[in-house]
């Protein structure tokens, strides 16, 4: 009897063990191909560039890359949804069960976590590897002082191969030209004019359905950062939602008095229902959703993908036409924006982990991606399938531009293996075609007239970083929360001053000193 019980228990336990462990093994099994002998196996953990199913085995571009670099790459993708990817990254790092390559970025924090973990030993320093084995990487990263500084960690090492952007115009202002016609106004140049336009959109029923259901202006958030797009209005008042440089002096934007003017303006817009009332919590993709439902008229967003909507939404909403307009001016009379794409993209790039047994082959593979051939593959895909050469320049085929499955350009490119968030160089030819005429015109105008320098990327000592970690999160929390309350009318914008006092109590002045010191160090180097 006892034996039977023990046997049964053992069997049950064994059964659950196999079931439990089996899953883990399957996940780690690399894709095998015929003739896999001699190929260097590499495992990659990467944030997905778009939320679509990908089977890297079938992607020609990557098959080519593997062929040319003699590697056998297996991919594990994680969703871009911020909470999920951060959590899974942490889980992975904590378990110590690392792949060979990791392509991770931290929201708008970029690569700070990578640099910290690198200095703790999770990632290997790349400078020497690059210098010895990777001519393309060396030329672009090591030999270019600006880029080299940008990717160097506080401890002096380079822990990731960056994703480089080709154009720095990123996001800007858009308005419905068709709605403007309906209400008989022209594109606003000042905050007052913007106000009038929004009121007209709200009351004039430009979508013609007899209901007052228009949401005049929307501004997408990114994760829990609701100021991500709306903050562009701050520039009208010479305010800034984050750190800002004024004549060599570092200042914290929300602590300045003009920030309260910005708050007063957006709270007025919110109170009069000119801004999306659910801006703080709206789920889904409000831009695509509300535009395709013909419910909104003004927004601040990414140039390329927004202008892309002219085609997509134009099918369902007759007359739909988005056009860009200049940043509105308010108390500050010159239109400008600090929002731009840095050359070293904060949302791309990859690192070699300490578990990689073939770092030399790995860096050579990464180097190939930076080579002219690699640039073509990772930007355009495979010749004949997703692009053809016209006058020596790659031009996308209809598989991309008019994707039969209805995918947008970006999504279909990702399906072809291009534009992944890894260490690659984006091509200007891609940008030129990715953005349709409207977007390109917008970007060029912004780059020409409105984009000014953004707050520089600083590096801090370990001691400074500790203090920043402790105090900055509190100050950021206070800023975001109290700004949100000011906007929805829970507190008066002028009372934000009390928040500034609280920030000072937390230690804002110390933070400013630290940032100033870091900036001075950087300025002295030049």
């Amino acid at each position: 009897m006892k034996k039977q019980v023990l046997l049964m228990a053992a069997a049950l336990l064994a059964a659950s063990f196999t079931f439990a462990e089996g899953g883990k093994e399957n996940a780690a099994a690399p894709s095998s191909k015929p003739g896999a002998k001699g190929l260097v196996p590499l495992s990659v953990w990467s944030v997905m560039a778009a939320e679509i199913p990908l089977t890297p085995d079938t992607i020609d571009a990557w098959n080519m890359i593997e062929q040319k670099t003699n590697t056998d790459i297996s991919w594990k993708f994680v969703s871009t949804l911020s909470e999920v990817k951060d959590q899974q990254f942490n889980l992975m790092m904590a378990s110590g069960d690392l792949p060979d390559i990791i392509a991770y970025y931290e929201g708008s924090g970029g690569h700070k976590t990578i640099e910290k973990l690198g200095s703790e030993g999770a990632f290997i320093p790349l400078e020497d590897l690059i210098a010895k084995n990777a001519p393309n990487l060396k030329k672009v990263i090591l030999d270019d002082p600006a880029i080299r500084t940008a990717v160097t960690a506080p401890d002096g090492h380079i822990y990731y191969v960056p994703m480089l952007s080709a154009l720095n115009a990123a996001r800007g202002w858009f308005i419905r030209a068709d709605w403007l016609e309906k209400v008989g106004l022209k594109a606003p140049a000042t905050t007052d004019e913007l106000y009038k336009v929004l009121v007209a959109f709200r009351d004039g029923d430009p979508n013609g359905n007899g209901l007052k259901d228009e949401i005049p202006m929307i501004a997408r958030r990114r994760g829990d950062d609701w100021i991500y797009n709306l903050g562009a209005l701050a520039y009208a008042f010479d305010a800034d939602p984050d750190w800002v440089l004024r004549n060599g002096k570092v200042s914290f934007g929300p602590a300045e008095s003009q920030y309260r003017d910005f708050l007063a303006y957006i709270s007025k817009l919110y109170r009069e229902k000119l801004i999306d009332q659910e801006i703080l919590t709206r789920k889904g993709n409000p831009r695509d959703e509300l535009l395709s439902l013909n419910m909104t008229g003004v927004l601040h967003d990414w140039f390329a993908s927004t202008a892309d909507l002219n085609g997509k939404v134009g099918k369902t909403v007759p007359g739909f036409r988005l056009m860009h307009f200049a940043p509105p001016t308010g108390t500050y009379k010159t239109p400008f924006t600090r929002i731009q794409q840095t050359k070293v993209r904060a949302d791309g790039g990859w690192s070699i982990t300490v578990k990689d047994k073939n770092p030399v082959e790995t860096i050579k593979m990464m180097d190939y991606v930076y080579s002219p051939e690699g640039i073509i593959l990772t930007n355009f895909g495979v010749e004949g399938k997703t692009y053809v050469l016209k006058d020596g320049k790659p031009v996308y085929t209809e598989a991309i531009t008019k994707n039969p499955a209805g995918l947008g350009m970006h999504e279909s490119l990702v399906t072809a293996g291009a534009q992944w968030k890894i260490g690659m160089i984006q091509s200007i030819e891609y940008e030129k075609q990715f953005a349709n005429a409207a977007a390109t015109a917008a970007r060029l105008e912004y780059m020409d007239k409105y984009i000014v320098d953004e707050f520089p990327l600083l590096s801090f000592t370990a001691g400074e970083a500790e203090i920043i970690k402790d105090k900055y999160s509190q100050i950021r929390t206070l800023t975001t929360e109290m700004s949100a309350r000011a906007m929805v009318g829970a507190i008066a914008p002028a009372d934000f001053e009390k928040t500034v006092q609280e920030m000072k109590k937390v230690g804002l002045d110390d933070l400013v000193k630290i940032y100033q010191a870091a900036y001075d160090r950087k300025a002295a180097k030049k």
Partner: protein, 313 residues
């Protein structure tokens, strides 16, 4: 035969008063002891992480010591007063509203004359307990949404303006408590119903003869008989108040109302598991344990003073 059996030696009974097969008993304990050692006591010891600058990459021994620094940081930060306040406020709301509700429900159910009706009511009120938090939280957010939620539709139908409930700081504790009542009242009432059914019916008969009315019976017989159970449940629950049904709060939070919805446990989760700030979060978690212990000890002491029989120990 019988005599032979009676004088058969008892080979397994070796020592007087002990079990012969005591070894088997010890063997039986192996799984549970192993489990407790690895997954209960080891983590308890692991709380020492709070005193280090722990990095999972460096491991426990290689991570540098940090003393009480993280405790100091927490107590000095803006988060300490707010998470403590939120936890206590939500706990207080629970005590005021969610704790008495099952008692009331039990009393009402108890006075239903027909057993099938009583069973039906009980079955229905029990349903929300079996539905998962995820579903209930999703439903709640949905029903409270400003443009499409039924609650707001009703408000608008009555002529009012739609309210963005989930975005209002001050409503969170009310919303959370209401949801908790919705979910758990039926289930928590079971205990009280059992206690009510255990009351000696002759007491009621005697009271009837003495001319007592319903109110009198309620006040003099029913309630006093329930008090031991009420106190017992109170003591059982009080330690948990501080953990405040953490999974439910987590599901109902959103970034806008974080200021009033962030309780100690969700803060530990956010800083520790999402933010990977392991040492700091462990320190905060330890703080919560101390608060919970204080509450349990304190309430037990009070209870003991008033009712000997009702104390847990």
């Amino acid at each position: 035969m019988r005599i032979a059996e009676a004088t058969k030696p008892y080979p397994r009974l070796r020592r007087k008063g002990r079990y012969a097969d005591e070894r088997a008993l010890w063997i039986m304990l192996i799984p549970v002891v192993a489990y407790f050692v690895f997954f209960r006591y080891l983590p308890m010891a692991g709380v020492a992480i709070a005193l280090k600058k722990f990095s999972p990459f460096l491991g426990f021994s290689d991570s540098p010591w940090n003393g009480l620094e993280y405790f100091r940081q927490f107590f000095a930060s803006i988060y300490f007063p707010r998470v403590l306040r939120n936890t206590l406020v939500i706990g207080a709301y629970y005590l005021l509203f969610a704790f008495p509700a099952p008692v009331a429900l039990a009393l009402m159910l108890n006075s239903v004359a027909s057993p099938p009706m009583k069973r039906t009511f009980q079955t229905i009120t029990l349903l929300p307990h079996f539905v998962s938090f995820v579903v209930i939280a999703g439903l709640a957010v949905n029903m409270l949404s400003p443009r499409t939620g039924v609650v707001n539709l009703v408000i608008q139908a009555l002529g009012g303006e739609s309210v963005f409930f989930m975005q209002k700081q001050e409503y969170f504790k009310g919303i959370y408590t209401a949801i908790r009542i919705f979910k758990e009242t039926g289930y928590e009432a079971i205990v009280y119903l059992a206690a009510l059914s255990a009351i000696d019916p002759t007491l009621y008969e005697a009271a009837e003869v003495d001319g007592a009315g319903r109110m009198r019976k309620l006040v003099s017989i029913t309630l006093p008989s329930l008090i031991p159970t009420i106190v017992l449940m109170f003591l059982v629950r009080i330690g948990n108040i501080v953990s405040v049904s953490f999974e439910e709060v987590l599901l109902l939070q959103n970034d806008v109302i974080l200021e009033t919805s962030e309780v100690i446990s969700t803060y530990v989760y956010r800083r520790g598991l999402i933010g990977a700030d392991y040492s700091y979060a462990t320190a905060v978690g330890l703080f919560e344990t101390v608060v919970a212990l204080a509450l349990v000890i304190g309430s037990n002491a009070i209870a003991r003073r008033f009712r000997d029989a009702a104390s847990l120990w």
